[in-house]
Symmetry: C2
Subunit: 291 residues, 2 copies
């Protein structure tokens, strides 16, 4: 497939099918137009808002909202309407920089369409002939995208931990990278996307880091999430991406890395499409209708 | 000012005020809704197209279109409707990768709203305490944005030269950087924007390069476009940007460089806005109306 197909695969949600979800007058998520009837069965009632829909029972108190949503999502879990429970709390919030309106189980985020923040780390090695990149193959028992290639370490950003600290935590857990090394990682940008899910949407922002590793360092998985690691020349990554064996959102991170390090250049006719396509979330949000 | 203001300053064109310009069925530009009457005076007649407006007299032959437009733009120049004539031909084309439908004088591009491609080079120096960046101060007699800070070298991409070769040419002309050095420059991405102009629009794409220079290298201007050069720590660039003394589109290039090199990080509440805001052209095009 073409590299542009990877952008399309991570941006399958159509703006016409979603409405902004408000708690009071604070936008916190995105609701599929076909979801309200199902949500009512679980006690999540929506009323009309000038710019979308509003949770009828929202309070100004984050703890109270969180408790209420915990009951609702527990029932969704019992019915398998929410699967892949993580016991990890994500924030429903107008942005990463605002106080959350509620904390909810990560696996339930797509239903309410909150922005899922994450950190992805490119594990890079300088070699004589250019850069190489460590890739991890996801374990066969992962709930999402088993066996696909992924960054050396990556993870969702739970509420209450900074992006940098979470990056260091994921480096430790997923690749046994000591803090002395991961503290040298450098923030290099972000990618965002809007991806239709069975019961909602992943409208996510990933914060990206480049981590240059010594030639003799070998990552080791400590939490069972990675089956094994390989180190491949960066110039071979576009071919791996074309073969389609890379995790959907991690593919965007690899495209970004190949663009920043001169592997994908203006000589390639897809260049503009790829550069633009790495930041689709805000673009998509601006095309939402209010009714 | 905030850094987000720099995004806004380079994206002043409102999509409601423009129509796509077609030569036959090929989209090549953007016409301001108030321009057709003025354009008719110069012999440039527009008729309706399903997705915008069409040049009535377009031919399938690029050379014939170019000749016809050369007459029209010469008259515009005589009236000072086009100023800052460059004697440099840019392509009117659906993209950088398509054959041009016409070649026209660069100074006339905003009237027809063709995509202006350019190359911008970050001249970087590795120092003990981090990266530093060479900046050039534009000469006081430059037709656009005199005295503003700019990249070490940058320039429009005329028809018929590759981005990489043009990058090397600008390095030579604007900063006396020899080919042996500029050939080590690395493609690192692009920025795009939609900027309202007096008589049209700059809907541009800039191809970006990082060039790491030896500590003892000093740029020298050879074509009179730069008054003088300074080398500043990269961590001081955000403050220079806030002060507003940087050329409008070059400011986007500096933001991108600070994001890629870890100076602007997710800790900064503007981070998402800045990362999204560096790729506004396609976003803007998707919001155009047809009538």
């Amino acid at each position: 497939m073409t590299l542009s197909h990877l952008i399309a695969a991570a941006n399958t949600a159509h703006p016409d099918y979603y409405l902004r979800l408000y708690f009071g007058d604070v936008p916190v998520g995105l609701i599929h137009r076909q979801a309200p009837k199902t949500l009512e069965k679980y006690g999540f009632y929506l009323v009309s808002h000038a710019l979308g829909v509003q949770w009828r029972d929202a309070s100004a108190n984050c703890a109270r909202n969180s408790e209420h949503l915990a009951q609702i999502t527990a029932n969704m879990r019992a019915d398998s309407y929410v699967t892949g429970w993580r016991d990890e709390l994500f924030a429903l919030s107008p942005s990463y920089y605002h106080a959350p309106q509620a904390l909810i189980e990560r696996a339930a985020m797509p239903i309410f369409g909150g922005c899922g923040y994450g950190v992805h780390i490119n594990g890079l090695v300088r070699r004589k002939n250019g850069l190489a990149m460590w890739l991890g193959q996801r374990a066969p028992n992962k709930p999402t995208e088993p066996n696909k290639w992924d960054q050396i370490a990556a993870g969702g950003l739970p509420y209450g931990i900074s992006a940098f600290n979470n990056m260091q935590k994921e480096c430790r857990e997923e690749a046994n990278i000591p803090e002395s090394l991961s503290q040298t990682a450098q923030s290099v940008g972000m990618v965002s996307y809007c991806w239709q899910q069975n019961n909602g949407i992943r409208a996510d922002v990933l914060f990206l880091y480049d981590l240059f590793l010594p030639a003799d360092f070998e990552p080791q998985n400590t939490d069972g999430e990675v089956a094994h690691f390989i180190c491949v020349p960066l110039e071979e990554i576009p071919e791996m991406l074309r073969e389609g064996d890379v995790k959907t959102n991690s593919a965007l991170v690899m495209l970004d890395c190949c663009i920043r390090h001169g592997i994908i250049t203006p000589q390639m006719p897809e260049y503009e499409t790829l550069c633009h396509g790495l930041q689709m979330r805000n673009h998509w949000l601006s095309r939402l209708k209010n009714k």
